[in-house]
């Protein structure tokens, strides 16, 4: 019999019950909750007279709606305010731990899970948010769910699921200096497309993946959903264990020793069979920048805006043409010639301390270009912010002309006041460049933190390696 993939092992460990047709009742170890996708779930619980199955397996935090400036003044938008207050009331009523807006541990749900040791190797982790795939970097089975499923997990600590197929993406070789995890995942999405992973759980493997820090691995797994797969996974190794050690909710004492042993099995067996395998060479990956309205519309920084008329498939031709019209770009334009108006460094993709360090290195001793009307850094959590301030990164950014904000989702999806105006062009370290994502009519180009910083100082896209 063939060996098991990491995904197989995590899955098998959590099956409570299996129906004849393969539908499984899957046990959920950790449920993360935020303000946007939970109110209707709590309302559903109340209406049915149910209570949480295991209140202490849930951790809640407001992140999508909250302001990134002048927090003392509270939330001015009454609709946002009600939603954030509703989370407070619901978690209070049902005995669920919440880090509220004033808590130093508050931050983007996918940043604080690993930061707190709340999400651990070997766990099943879910959240009403598609970027839950982030936590797979810790060798956990983590995926996003809808609000009905949020209610289902609250009420039963389980989910009804069918198993995804296994896919593995190899990235072997060595990344060149200045090329980061963000470039790797954009290159992968550029290769397999935004539907390339539909129906699969994707495991990332190869020397370039093991060489990444755990934070970099989170960036990769985070954007797995942009490749169409709900879950991304990376095997547990010494780096994973070191990353988890000592975190507030990580196992302690005897439990730590037992957990560490158990985690050693969290990798795919050498004879495991995958349904699909894809391979990229690390050396072939240059810094990436998206040109369109889908993450797969991506080119290396040396590339040009593609010409839709070169597309043979009429559907794609139409799609690319529409994207270029929305983005206000001409075919053939070198990406380096594309000038920007705003810069956003943050989000659950690139709002961790290493991301801020990467950007600060580029910015140090330089100024934001005069054509850039706003450049902002939004740390992924209160603790990331504190750490960055200890290292003096905030001063580097501020001296260069960046705004240094409070933690949250911010302009990743522009649910709060941080947004693009129609026609504005943004170099963004977030994960989605959909129409209107950062504000109606706004134009988003996805890049790594270093590339965003480089664009900020140059006023247009530029190869970050030219600034090193």
């Amino acid at each position: 019999m063939a060996g098991k993939t990491l995904h197989d092992k995590l899955w098998d460990d959590h099956v409570v019950h299996q129906d004849d047709d393969g539908t499984c009742l899957l046990y959920i170890d950790c449920h993360l909750v935020h303000e946007v996708t939970s109110p209707q779930a709590f309302e559903g619980l109340r209406l049915a007279g149910r209570t949480p199955w295991r209140a202490d397996a849930n951790l809640a935090v407001p992140d999508h709606n909250i302001p990134t400036t002048n927090r003392e003044a509270g939330i001015t938008d009454p609709v946002s305010k009600l939603q954030v207050e509703t989370l407070g009331r619901n978690t209070g009523d049902f005995g669920i731990l919440q880090f509220d807006v004033d808590d130093p541990r508050q931050g983007i749900v996918h940043v604080i899970g690993p930061e707190q040791g709340a999400t651990l190797p070997g766990m099943t982790v879910v959240c009403g948010d598609s970027h839950t795939s982030t936590h797979g970097a810790l060798a956990a089975l983590a995926f996003g769910i809808g609000t009905s499923e949020v209610e289902h997990v609250l009420a039963t600590q389980c989910l009804l699921q069918k198993k995804s197929r296994n896919m593995r993406v190899w990235v072997n070789g060595e990344l060149t200096a200045g090329v980061t995890a963000k470039d790797v995942i954009l290159a992968i999405i550029g290769t397999i497309g935004t539907a390339g992973g539909t129906g699969y759980a994707i495991e990332y493997a190869g020397s370039a993946i093991s060489d990444l820090s755990v934070e970099g691995r989170m960036t990769i797994c985070n954007m797995t959903i942009e490749a169409g797969a709900r879950a991304g996974l990376i095997a547990c190794d010494d780096k994973t264990v070191d990353f988890v050690a000592g975190r507030p909710y990580a196992p302690k004492g005897e439990n730590w020793e037992r957990a560490r042993l158990a985690w050693q099995t969290l990798h795919s067996d050498h004879d495991a069979v995958f349904d699909r395998e894809v391979s990229l060479r690390a050396e072939d990956i240059d810094p990436q920048v998206t040109w369109g309205t889908s993450p797969e519309m991506v080119v290396p920084i040396s590339g040009n805006v593609p010409d839709p008329s070169q597309q043979t498939d009429p559907d794609r031709r139409e799609w690319h043409g529409r994207a270029l019209a929305y983005m206000g770009l001409e075919p053939g334009t070198p990406m380096r010639d594309v000038a920007i108006d705003k810069v956003f460094i943050g989000s659950c993709t690139n709002g961790r301390i290493e991301d801020l360090r990467d950007a600060a290195r580029v910015v140090q001793g330089r100024r934001v270009a005069s054509n850039v009307v706003l450049a902002m850094v939004v740390p992924g959590s209160g603790l990331v912010k504190q750490q960055a301030e200890r290292e003096g990164l905030h001063r580097i950014f501020q001296e260069a002309g960046f705004e240094w904000r409070e933690p949250g989702c911010s302009m990743c999806l522009a649910m709060n006041a941080d947004r693009l105006q129609p026609g504005e062009r943004c170099a963004s370290t977030s994960n989605r460049n959909f129409e209107g994502r950062q504000g109606r009519g706004g134009r988003t180009h996805l890049v790594s933190p270093g590339m965003a910083a480089a664009a900020a100082v140059a006023g247009h896209f530029i190869d970050v390696r030219d600034l090193h």
């Binding site: 046990y27 559907d315 529409r322």
Partner: protein
């Protein structure tokens, strides 16, 4: 949950691929703490010429006459015809809620994004997958015929054109059963309470650190 059995209804063709959930229901409407009322904001950026905010009187906004859902002949459509990878992006269940609130009860496309597909079933909205060729044919016929209606029969797993041409579709039997009977997932899962408790007891022995809990 509402049952879904069989219907013969007007079809609206949305000729775009990779329609994401941000487009289906823009983020400013996600601030609602309700499940209903999203219909007027379905495809908001495409449907209206002026920017939309929650709490606005949407009947006073300027409609984009070019957008397909605004055309009189598609006003009362209950079936949405779409292209590949419909519903990609964010996991927001507000997307199926908005479609349902608008009046859409079934969708036909060559493929749907995973989370969206799953969310539809939780709300009694039926996503039907047909091959790209067949979807193409339906787009063609729908564009060419005013008042184009399709019959979607979940029990028989077929889509039937006005000419009587019948296309079978695949669907997961368990999902079909739940949708046909309008069953509540949570109640069904709670029938397995003993199995869940037994699993927890076993895991507490094997991996006690998973039960330390966050407290509150």
């Amino acid at each position: 949950m509402e049952k879904f059995t069989r219907m013969t209804e007007l079809v609206v063709p949305l000729d775009r691929s990779n329609v994401d959930t941000d487009a289906i229901i823009p983020k400013q409407y996600l601030k609602s703490i309700k499940r209903t009322g999203f219909g007027p904001n379905l495809f908001d950026d495409w449907r209206y010429l002026d920017p939309g905010e929650p709490g606005q009187d949407h009947s006073k906004r300027r409609l984009n006459p070019d957008f397909i859902l605004n055309q009189e002949r598609y006003r009362h459509a209950k079936i949405l015809l779409a292209r590949q990878n419909f519903g990609c992006g964010s996991s927001r269940e507000h997307a199926p809620w908005a479609l349902l609130d608008f009046g859409i009860q079934a969708m036909i496309a060559p493929s749907f994004a995973d989370i969206f597909y799953n969310n539809c079933f939780k709300n009694g909205l039926l996503p039907v997958i047909l091959s790209a060729d067949k979807v193409n044919q339906l787009f063609f016929e729908c564009g060419a015929t005013t008042g184009y209606r399709l019959t979607v029969d979940l029990e028989a797993q077929t889509v039937t054109t006005p000419e009587g041409q019948m296309f079978p579709f695949e669907i997961d039997p368990a999902r079909k059963h739940r949708l046909l009977n309008g069953l509540d997932d949570i109640a069904m899962t709670l029938d397995h309470t003993d199995a869940i408790c037994a699993y927890e007891a076993r895991q507490r022995q094997q991996a006690p650190w998973l039960f330390s809990g966050f407290g509150s």
